[in-house]
Amino acid sequence: MGKYLLRRLAINVILVAIAASLAYILAASTMSPRGAYEGRQPPVAESVVDATLDAYNLNDKTPVLQRYATWVQGVVVGDFGRTWNGGSVNDEMGRRILVSARLLLIGTLLGFAVGVALGAFSAVKQYKLSDRLIGVTSFVIMAIPVFVLATLLAIGTYNLNRGLGFTLIEYTGEYNPRLSGWDQFLNRLNHLILPTISLSLGSIAFYSRIQRNMMLDVLDQDFVRTAMAKGLPRRKALIKHALRTALIPSATYFAFAFGTMFTGATFTEKIFAWHGMGAWLVDSINANDVNSVAAVTFFAAVCVLAASFLSDLLVAALDPRVRVS
């Protein structure tokens, strides 16, 4: 087992290295923040621009491979370099990961929990009205892209607030910096409502569909019948034996979603103006910020591979068949 894990780790490290290197070379060979300096008023001398860009390892006059070598030397010791205007990429990344975590943790957990509960419920009530209602609703929601959903939510809230004459639900930003203490905490929660809904609706729909199918497969299997025959109440048999086995596929998806959540909310972050990792990718591409682009990509690749690892572990923990063998 240890050998297998080590081998997987080694392969994952190689894959991350390849993905990040390719991203860096692609970004470095096509984008340059030079324009942002040259366009300034009053004009900046070219030698000054060159010197600044050299200091940040962003000069497009230096060969790509040479810049790449400098970048690798930094990354190996954990330094992702400088942003286009000289800030530290590491600081920026640390800040943005926390923003994304605050935004996404609740939404991801809520999406999974509610989705699984709805799916299990609708499997138990198969072909009843509630099952059909859940099915149709989740089918429709899955056809609505998140940027449409988020915009609809924002419009709805805007009109609601205007109708009420005061701001009941906030629809942009993370918090109001003028408040402090308890008020600020409540304000943060208020700002979370809309992005959380827009994030979790899609995953609720997705999980409920998977969970329903899995639950149906399990419901009429022997071990559930045995559990009930042994005198276990139906509810307990369903939850302890059926739901647990049927959780495995949803749980693997969840582990994956949990790992990729940091970079997965680009649209929600952009539309509701949260400055997290997802928004950073788009912003840094638009700002020709090579080092930031490479850092986001590196982070995303690490997340994906960690997520697949996590999902394997979770399956082993949930599935008795995997544990025995």
Partner: protein, 280 residues
């Protein structure tokens, strides 16, 4: 014979029926609708900027006076074409790569699956986002199609490969081998046709996936480039001032959702008809 059975099952399937009717109507609207509209999509009406829907401009006008009805349908045409092409290319690629890897095994399998793993790890969003705005010349949207397709076939090819592994041992495939038929011919004549139900379902769902993917990238300006329009670029423009001028957002977004919904309905119905055992 089987085609007949599947077709009959498909007709009996309510989802597929409604989905197909909706899709035919939507495609009809996109391609025939513009001939009935009073304006061309390139025309600018300098007397009506941002005017609401009315008898002259049925779906209102944009901030530069373009007729929303004409522009939206034009964007929808592009979205439909992109969806179809991406689905065809990516499913085709998945079938070929998966079948070759599974059938030949050995180093061909290893190399191909390494490529699949690598493409899965590569930051597809980043690559498309960097490359596609730089392709501003004439047929840039075709490049965009190629890019979208290049990053959407990998998971299916894994499935195809594992199914090929079992098909490879079937008697009719072995018989073909002993008759001296070249390997690549066996793949196209015996392996791929036997995967058709999987591939048809996959292609259908890829259409809606690609339409959403195009719209998502265009939303950030990384997809279809101006002066071309697609539903994604229109939604992006409309969502910026959706509160004041809802018609800029409502028509493209509504049509996008309707399009995706109808394709998904067909895909679901197809799955029921082609693969009655599955319930996923």
């Amino acid at each position: 014979m089987r085609t007949k059975v599947v077709f009959r099952r498909l007709l009996r399937n309510k989802q597929a029926r409604y989905g197909s009717i909706a899709l035919v109507l939507l495609v009809g609207l996109a391609y025939i609708g513009p001939y009935f509209g009073p304006y061309d999509w390139t025309e600018k009406d300098f007397l009506a900027f941002l005017s609401g829907p009315g008898p002259d401009h049925w779906w209102g006008t944009t901030s530069i006076g373009a007729d929303m009805y004409a522009v939206t349908l034009r964007g929808m045409q592009k979205s439909i074409i992109i969806g179809l092409l991406v689905a065809l290319i990516s499913t085709g690629l998945a079938a070929i790569v998966g079948a070759f890897a599974g059938y030949f095994g050995g180093w061909i399998d290893k190399v191909l699956m390494w490529g699949v793993d690598l493409l899965l790890v590569l930051p597809s969003f980043l690559i498309i986002a960097i490359v596609s705005p730089r392709l501003r010349e004439g047929a840039s949207w075709l490049w965009f199609v190629a890019l979208l397709a290049a990053f959407s076939w990998m998971v299916t090819s894994r499935v195809v490969r594992s199914m090929t592994l079992s098909l490879r041992e079937r008697e009719y495939v072995l018989a073909a081998v002993y008759m001296g038929i070249p390997r690549w011919k066996i793949i196209f004549r015996h392996i791929v046709p036997n995967l058709s139900s999987l591939l048809i379902i996959d292609a259908t769902l890829n259409v809606s996936g690609a339409i959403i993917g195009e719209a998502a990238l265009s939303f950030f300006g990384f997809g279809v480039q101006p002066p071309d329009v697609s539903l994604g670029t229109l939604i992006a423009e409309g969502s910026r001032n959706a509160t004041g001028y809802p018609w800029l957002f409502a028509f493209p977004a509504g049509l996008l959702v309707a399009l995706v919904l109808s394709v998904n309905l067909i895909g679901d119905g197809l799955r029921d008809a082609l693969d009655p055992g599955s319930n996923s």
